[in-house]
Symmetry: C2
Subunit: 304 residues, 2 copies
């Protein structure tokens, strides 16, 4: 059964692992957010692609939820001492990947091809497809001004309330090679419990991808990023409250109008009304086993 | 007393420390070899500039003789795992500097300006001037073919006998800002016990520098890189034997014909004949104190 996951952030990486664990090798394809890609110290960093790569390859720091296990931080510390920027946390092992990717991108390879090469290096059987090879960057409008995503999220600690989101470059962005074919092939489309504005929004801002999902034959299931009305991590509850008017399942489902058939919510958010079918389960992925259970619930609901 | 040191490699860094220790702050200026600069993993690495910077700032790994103390190697290891080149040993702390420098060079700053900024960061009072801001690369001709310096030295372990040396770009290279002024100002010019072909040769290949030294008013003193007819480190003895016909003081002095007034040699190489005045001392710099004693001997000989 071909399953396509739209994913970004820690929740996306965790559900990707759960789905990979319960599906046969090669059945899962992940389309990754690139809206929070950033250039740091001259290196091209793709945090969501990397979280997926590290998580699916078993390299991620499970406790931290991003970056590599057994990490050291000496290069960044040194760069700071020499006057370089050190606001974006790049570990030494992580840097090795960014060096290799940046060089390949500078040689003209598209991000999708570079990502496939990296995945092949760790013998990953789950394709990770960046939503687009074109430049697409999430910009955050706040009372304090407009910021690039990482500047707002990391450097400013996402303290500024978000008034609006823009996806710079989305108008011209094409789906990366393989994305539309994977959407066409998928029996189930899953939207990860990622931030609808920051992680899934940039993927859906690529017109070809949005249209393909709107015209889907597959069942499409989103997992709510909200548990008990609150974010598991990050600012999603604050953003939903301010920009959508609340954090109920109906508010979450409205972010994906026309794009999903079901919404999986946590028991803490039930009962609820929503314009799509609701599936109530234990949605918090406390560990890899819980992610696998959630993945099974999602797939059973979609196929039921 | 203004002293100008021409330096490259480990011997250059050690004598630079010795001279810095025995001179007043600001009296020493070092002109550094850039012929073995190399691009690795998309980063601009200047090994001789960095050895001087690390040594003079007290950051160098004394035992290894290059790179930073308390170093880790995780980024390079990771880069190798992801398919990147890992033949050139770059430590994590070292990488921090290369990231900062590479970014500044890409923004169009000349190497001399970037080096001055780095030196200011560690409050170094000894200016380190790259011989040139222009591209100048040492190429090594061997029976196995012609190699870029680092490819021959590191990747091939300098096992191929050297038949000839070329300095690519030297014909068009101008002295970096400050070099000619420092030569003009110097009361003493010191040539470090560095490899005449690989470390000092590329500096002297810059025509403006060679002419300035040929027309010097200062006393010019070289320290032989040979002790007891053998290299302290590296391939200098093999290169002198093959290309100059021997490793005696006369063979060393001939590399600097018209450019030096005296040659400092180790007791193990005396007595000897040479076309310049010989100064016999304990030339092996076993530690920082020995480097200071050698520096004092060099300066006393030049001024005596």
């Amino acid at each position: 059964m071909n399953v396509l996951l739209l994913a970004g952030g820690g929740g996306g990486a965790r559900l990707a692992c759960g789905l990979q664990d319960v599906l046969e090798p090669g059945e899962l394809t992940v389309v990754a957010n690139v809206g929070d890609d950033v250039e740091v110290l001259g290196l091209q960093v793709s945090p969501d692609v990397d979280s997926l790569l590290y998580a699916l390859a078993g390299l991620i720091d499970e406790a931290r939820g991003w970056g590599r296990a057994d990490e050291t931080w000496n290069a960044l510390s040194s760069a700071g001492e020499w006057g370089g920027e050190d606001w974006f946390r790049l570990g030494d092992r992580d840097l090795g990947l960014h060096l290799v990717r940046t060089r390949a991108l500078r040689e003209g390879k598209p991000l999708s091809a570079v990502t496939a090469e990296l995945a092949a290096r760790v013998e990953l059987l789950t394709p990770i497809l960046p939503a687009t090879d074109d430049r697409l960057r999430t910009q955050v409008h706040t009372p304090a001004g407009t910021f690039e995503f990482q500047e707002w999220f990391v450097a400013r600690g996402h303290r500024d309330e978000v008034e609006d989101i823009a996806y710079e470059g989305a108008g011209d962005a094409r789906a990366a090679p393989g994305v539309l074919q994977a959407l066409e092939r998928a029996a189930v489309i899953v939207v990860a419990p990622s931030n609808p504005y920051l992680s899934i929004g940039p993927i859906l801002a690529v017109d070809e991808i949005r249209r393909a999902i709107e015209g889907r034959r597959a069942r499409s299931v989103a997992v709510s990023p909200v548990v008990g009305g609150k974010a598991v991590t990050g600012p999603v509850d604050r953003m939903l409250s301010r920009m959508a008017g609340g954090t109920t399942p109906a508010h979450v489902a409205a972010r994906y109008e026309g794009l999903i058939d079901m919404l999986v919510i946590d028991e803490a958010d039930a009962p609820a009304d929503a314009p799509v079918e609701l599936v109530v389960t234990e949605a918090l992925m406390r560990d890899r086993e819980a992610a696998g259970r959630l993945a099974t619930t999602v797939l059973e609901a979609a196929c039921g």
